[in-house]
Amino acid sequence: MTDPPAAPRDSLLHVEDLRTRFHTDAGTVTAVDGISFDLDDGETVCLVGESGSGKTVAAESLTRLIDDPPGEIVSGTVRFDGRDLATASEAELRAVRGDRIAHVFQNPQRALNPVYSVGWQLLEAIQLHDDVSKADARARAIDLLDRVGIPDPATRIDDYPHELSGGMQQRVAIAMALAGEPDLLVADEPTTALDVTIQSQVLRLLESIQSASGLGLLLVTHDLGVVAEVADRVVVMYDGTVMERGSVHDVFERPSHPYTRALLDAIPGRDVDLTPTAARDVADRDPSSATDSTTGCRFRSRCPHAVDACREGDQPPLHPTPDATTSAPDGARAHVAACVHFGPDGDPDVVVDSAKSADSGASADESAGGDRR
Amino acid sequence: MIGAEDSPGTGTDDSQPADGGEPPSERFEDVDWASIDADGGGRSPLRLAALVAAGSYGLAVASDRLVAGGDPTIDVAFGGVAFVWDATAVDWLFVATLSVLVFALVPLARNRRLVAYYWRRFRRHRPAVLSLAYLLVIFLLGTVGTLFLDPPALDVAAAYQPPVFLSVDASIPTECVGPVVEGRCQGTWRYPLGTTADGKGLLALAIFGMRVSMQVGLIATLISITIATAVGATAAYAGGWIDEALMRYVDIQQTFPTFFLFLFLAYLYGGSLFVLIVIFGVTGWGGIARIVRSEALQRSEETYVAAARSAGASGPFVVWRHVVPNVSNSIVTAATLNIPVLILSEAALSFIGLGNVTLPSWGQTIAAGRGDLATAWWVSTVPGLFLFATILAFNFLGDALRDALDPRQEVGR
């Protein structure tokens, strides 16, 4: 069984089999190992995973923002609006970056150049893609600041980044991303560095921008709460590969891959209890130890449902889940999971039903020694 | 120390009657703190050893200065080889420096695992590993080798001999020691690196030059880092006006261009090696003190310091156990990079004739060969190459150390 064939479609962004490697002293690390997903106009797709899952590298690989060297995009297609960015020239990419695809980064304080004023950096973003006069660009910059909810924008535009709070800095970063009126906004953990109240403001801002301009939003996050609030569709990543993919309702209500289930289970206060061993330390490991010799399912060693078949071959392909009826019929948006139990010879109930039986016995008693590398 | 048996000094351990049997798994709830509070502390054998070493050092210096007077410090003959060593003031300082170095290495030997970790990081820098080997050779030749070698002697008859495997027009040497082939004087193994205008062997000169360079570099740097650590740590720990005053002083000292300070002081007080080393050591610590201060301030902001303090550790305990060890990385790096500067300065001062002219310093030899460049190019070149290689090696070493010991890279990955 192979990947459901991706029908030639007109999605805004179509990523297929993307692979990114890093060459380090300790050897080559494949941070992103063949991921595929689609994103449409006006749609929000969330890349979810814990630290070391490769979600950030995946997002930055789209427009080749990764540091090269040591990073290198080995293979794959990134079709954006009909063009393959993976094979595009640096100059072509430059025309796309900021203009068609914009990025917002995790730490706003570091994403803004400390020695230039907010205005300078906004004007740069405007004038890089639009041949406008300085005065016009400035007026537009003030409009942008106003649009992202910066109070007194005409005064604030001459501030330096360090004079703004974290929330304000992230708003400025978003304003900068909007300067080129992009079709796709890639936001990498845009709210992780912020307080909950500010996070909620920024998420609302992103939503309102999206509904106003209809741009596609690719949100990279580790926070399932954020995912549930904003996502239309979800891509769950673990160790550089896609573990599960589907609409937000499918993934949250009928989590299929054992990893997704463990992830959901780990949320404090969520009372669906899975076997505690599955919940433990799914990503608390040194990503540099991720050698390329991995065979079989990457989640195998921590999976409570691992069987011999999990050792064989590569990561299992994305199999459709039994609830496929509720999903869109075509391959790219189906609810799929990369687990042998969902394959042609597997029995999904091994994963799905075990929760019910384990529920009674799980005494939430974490035992020693689970935190191993 | 490590792996010591249950010491009888803490025999108040009544709650644990089964002692010595299977490895007891004592739980922290079982600890009777009231009895421990009543107990005293212990002392470290290392500190004792240091005390003994310092004491005997003091006695030796005193006996040499007061009792022996002009006589050689050591005069023994075993077999046919006589071993005579009249220690100068610089030599005594050097001995002190080396003993301090030995004591600084003890904590390293204790933390093998950590040393291995640093070594793995250091090893990645191949030029630095080579440099380390080269410097060890230079160091051993300069310190131990010179004790057994005769100092280069005047021999006008053997002037201008070319290095071995090389030849020079026979008219240039006063008298060719080696064979003369086709009108060219061949170099011999008697003077592998050739000779100077005085007929001194350049190999011997180079080796004695190593001693001078090592003495200047190591002693002055040790003086510098001692002062720098004291000043920097005091400034960081005391804060307030003490910090302000100390750092302002460093500001001013740093403003004075080092070379001209050396020049001026050497002019005023003479350029003997002892004076030079003291001047270098006493005036060259400003930069390191700044590093120590800022590092110490940063380290004391670290969470592990807060953790120790919240567990009840005293200020001095934290400084000694956490701040100083963690600052030492930066001190080692700064010291390593300070040494070549001093060696170069000494060579430069000797070169322009401000040093002790009787000392076989590399700079001295370079200056001596300057006039003979067209005829006997090797006289300046040989010590120049040694000087260059030594400075280069220290720079490589320092750079690699900075990389390997960088605390920023140590934390997390």
Binding site: R94, R97, N107, V115, H129, A177 | P257, L263, F351, L392
Partner: protein
């Protein structure tokens, strides 16, 4: 507190630093043995005259008779009014001797400084941007070479090679030529090696710092953000990396470069026979002309004080984050 207030404070501090240094110098001079005095006493004793009387006469002539504080004030006053004393060996005022020598020094230091600043920063930035490439390794090695090579020895070797062996440049520096036709090709030819020797160490040092500082920024998030905006690599290099790099660099550059240039030029002049400040100072030391030694030492010291002041001001101009109340 604003920039003006900060500037005023830095200027005042430079004044204080200069004053302290001059005071220390005075004390050092006063307590050090005076070689001239020793010579006079020796001569007097040798000719049968009273050494004591000769010493007093000498002190009288030198103005060394008054109480310490009086002499101290006079010393400061003289320095301030440009009366830097009389050079016995050159039979001219110290300041005149210095001003005569200064152009020769500037003739090769200015090009060397300009070259090393521009090239050093450029190579350093390029190297940082292309970390772990062959170019970077080559540049790093050249930097190590430049930092480590003793410049006086380097000068000697180059002279041997290019002047003695190849005859491309003159062996001896022609001061007359430099004075009368400073902009001629012939003068340029004889300045090439000094500029090169001085430049090597200065470029190397600048480059190392520039590379190290730029490395802090080439992988910074804001550089990635600029790339995401669609900025070209050139723009990223010249705008986004250069500017923040200049902030710490300005503090290192002035202080360190100045130290290197000042001391290296001294040795370069000795090696190449350029009658600049360094040679003047060395002559003064050899002939034990204390007034001239003091004068030639104070020039670089005052230059350093000025340099430090400029460095503080440059820092304030370059970094918007500076807290003016901090220093």
């Amino acid at each position: 507190m604003g920039l003006k207030w900060y500037t005023a404070r830095r200027v005042a501090w430079a004044g204080v630093a200069a004053f302290v240094i001059l005071t220390v110098t005075f004390v050092l001079l006063d307590y050090a043995p005076d070689p001239e005095l020793a010579r006079i006493q020796f001569r007097a004793a040798a000719t049968g005259a009273d050494a004591e009387t000769a010493a007093e006469a000498y002190a009288e002539r030198r103005g060394l008779t008054g109480p310490l504080w009086e002499r101290y004030l006079e010393y400061l006053g003289n320095l301030a009014t440009g009366d830097w004393g009389w050079s016995d060996t050159r039979s001219q005022p110290v300041l005149t001797a210095i001003l005569t020598a200064l152009p020769y020094s500037l003739m090769y230091t200015v090009p060397a400084v300009a070259l090393s600043t521009v090239l050093g920063i450029a190579i350093g930035l390029y190297s940082a941007f292309n970390q772990y490439t062959t170019t970077d390794y080559a540049a790093t090695f050249v930097a190590f070479f430049g930092v480590s090579i003793p410049n006086f020895w380097f000068g000697i070797v180059l002279l041997l090679l290019f002047a003695v062996q190849l005859g491309w440049v003159p062996v001896l520096f022609d001061a007359e030529l430099a004075r009368t036709r400073p902009l001629s090709l012939a003068n340029a030819r004889q300045l090439v090696l000094p500029v090169f020797v001085l430049g090597t160490s200065a470029i190397a040092s600048t480059m190392r710092y520039a590379r190290a500082e730029a490395l802090e920024y080439v992988r910074a998030a804001f550089v990635k953000a600029a790339r995401a905006k669609g900025a070209s690599e050139w723009r990223i290099l010249t705008r986004h990396v250069l500017r923040p790099t200049l902030v710490p660099l300005s503090t290192i550059l002035v202080g360190d470069l100045l130290g290197i240039i000042l001391s290296a030029s001294y040795l370069v002049e000795v090696v190449f026979g350029i009658p600049g400040l360094g040679r003047l100072s060395l002559e003064a030391i050899r002939r034990q002309d204390t007034a001239l030694v003091l004068g030639t030492t104070l020039v670089p010291v005052l230059v350093a004080v000025l340099g430090n002041l400029l460095q503080d001001l440059a820092y304030a101009l370059l970094d918007p984050r500076i807290d003016y109340g901090d220093r």
